[in-house]
Amino acid sequence: MELFQLIAVGITGAILIVTVKQHKPEIALALALVIGVLLLFMASGFLETILNTLRDMADQAGLSSGQWQLLIKLLVAGYVIEFGSEICKDAGQQALAAKLQMGGRLIMAGLALPVFKSLLTLITELLT
């Protein structure tokens, strides 16, 4: 049922945006943003279920919760950055979208730095 609701909202939103864009392009952009956020919210329930299941598996297996939380942050950040970038592209702002992506990747790289540092330390210990 949720799948059909998602499809219905997506198609209805696309039709609305195309109709409004002819008369008010700026409102069409805002509408695209709202419908995009709505679709994400509708899908987020399933994503939460999947991530909770994976987290439970990881907890049972003894994976570090700090590492797991970092990876979830990166996943959410990745989706948010791509979402924002696509909105910019929809508005015809390719350059802005590229800059947003670059900024997002830098932030994600900064978040992931401790993992790369630990990996480098482990490899150095192994080789020496």
Binding site: Q60, G78, Q101, G104, M108, L126, L127
Partner: protein, 377 residues
């Protein structure tokens, strides 16, 4: 007639030194304490007690010489399977962690697929890949260090057992064969193990790390280099082992014939001594037979010690290899190809480490077998 008696007395005088040594071959007086210490510190003492019923080399040797011990290969196979099952269960938590991370990585590679390679998903994927590598490298590191430790212990065992065999063979009248072969057998095997430990094992670790880094990028530009290094390591290892066994075999071609000729000549001289000649000849023969028994017993004990030393590590490495292969097979339809390649690389490297351990035992057994065959069975 007089000159014959003179030659005979001279030969008896020359042989009397070796006859004296032959009479003193007593396994209970041989010092195998360092080998017992190696067994104790590695925990293989318990394995030896379970499989052979003996707690020390001395006890094992006595059982072998008296015929009290008979090798039951089904028992060894059963023990290996039990150990394998136990080790696989130990690594279940690792499997679950890898599955969870691999599935998470799929989300990031999904972002890459949907939004192009330069998307934010690539950073996220690299981060998950890094965590996966750290997790899997910890288990691989255990396998690597254990392999090096066991190769070192095999070296210690061989440095005591092989010279002991050679000394008994000399006492048994195979002076030339034993002298020619003992240096090659002991020194050559020790050198082979050093090469395995210092060069081959380190090479395997190095190529594994390069391949892990290589598969971060979908283009994998270092594949040819890593393939070359692996081929060199594998072929080099096979060539070194083959060369060692070839040299052992070649060394054993001429010397036994010379030893036999000397034995026949001395036997003929002893038999020609009036009154006591045949008794002396018979006594020498039985002492030599006893020496052969002790020598073969030491060889068999050495092979069993190596089997005991290697049983647990081989089971552990086999379990680790099996887990990597199972994960790769199970996750292949679901996750990014790079994760599957990571698991395949680690499986291949673990198999190579396993090959070093098994190869070491086989080469030792082969060398001991050649030595026993050529110094009287």
């Amino acid at each position: 007639m007089k000159w014959r008696i003179g030659v005979g007395l001279m030969l008896i005088a020359l042989l009397s030194a070796s006859i004296t040594v032959q009479a003193e071959v007593d396994p209970s007086q041989m010092d195998f304490n360092p080998v017992d210490e190696v067994l104790e510190e590695s925990g293989a003492e318990e394995v030896m007690e379970e499989q052979t019923g003996s707690r020390s080399i001395g006890e094992l040797l006595e059982d072998l010489l008296s015929g009290a011990h008979t090798a039951d290969w089904k028992q060894w196979v059963r023990a290996f399977i039990d150990l394998l099952g136990g080790h696989v269960k130990e690594y279940v938590s690792l499997m679950i962690q890898v599955v969870a991370l691999a599935v998470l990585s799929r989300f990031f590679s999904g972002l890459e697929l949907n939004f192009g390679e330069g998307s934010a998903g690539s950073i996220g994927f690299l981060c998950v890949y890094g965590v996966l590598v750290m997790l899997l490298l910890q288990s691989f590191q255990l396998a690597y260090e254990e392999t090096r430790e066991v190769l070192g212990r095999m070296q210690t065992v061989s440095l005591y057992m092989m010279p002991a065999m050679a000394a008994v063979a000399v006492a048994g009248g195979y002076a030339l064969s034993s002298t020619l072969q003992s240096e090659l057998m002991t020194g050559g095997f020790s050198l082979l193990l050093t090469v395995m430990k210092q060069i081959i094992a380190t090479g395997i670790l190095g190529v594994t790390i390069i391949e892990i880094v290589n598969y971060i990028s979908p283009r994998a530009v270092l594949s040819h280099l890593t393939s070359l290094v692996r081929t060199v390591l594998e072929k080099g290892m096979k060539a070194a082992c083959g060369l060692y066994l070839f040299l052992m075999g070649t060394c054993s071609v001429v010397a036994p014939a010379a030893d036999k000729a000397l034995y026949k000549a001395s036997s003929a001289v002893l038999s020609s001594v009036p009154v006591v000649g045949s008794a002396m000849s018979g006594a020498v023969e039985s002492v030599m037979a006893g020496s052969m028994l002790v020598k073969n017993g030491i060889g068999a004990a050495g092979c069993m010690v190596l089997l005991c030393l290697c049983l647990v590590p081989v089971a552990r490495l086999t379990a680790i290899w099996l887990i990597y292969r199972l994960l790769a097979a199970f996750l292949a339809p679901v996750v990014d190809e790079r994760v599957v390649k990571l698991l395949t690389v680690l499986a291949r490297s673990t198999a190579m480490l396993l090959g070093l351990l098994v190869g070491g035992v086989i080469i030792f057994t082969g060398a001991v077998g050649i030595f026993i065959m050529t110094t009287g069975q």
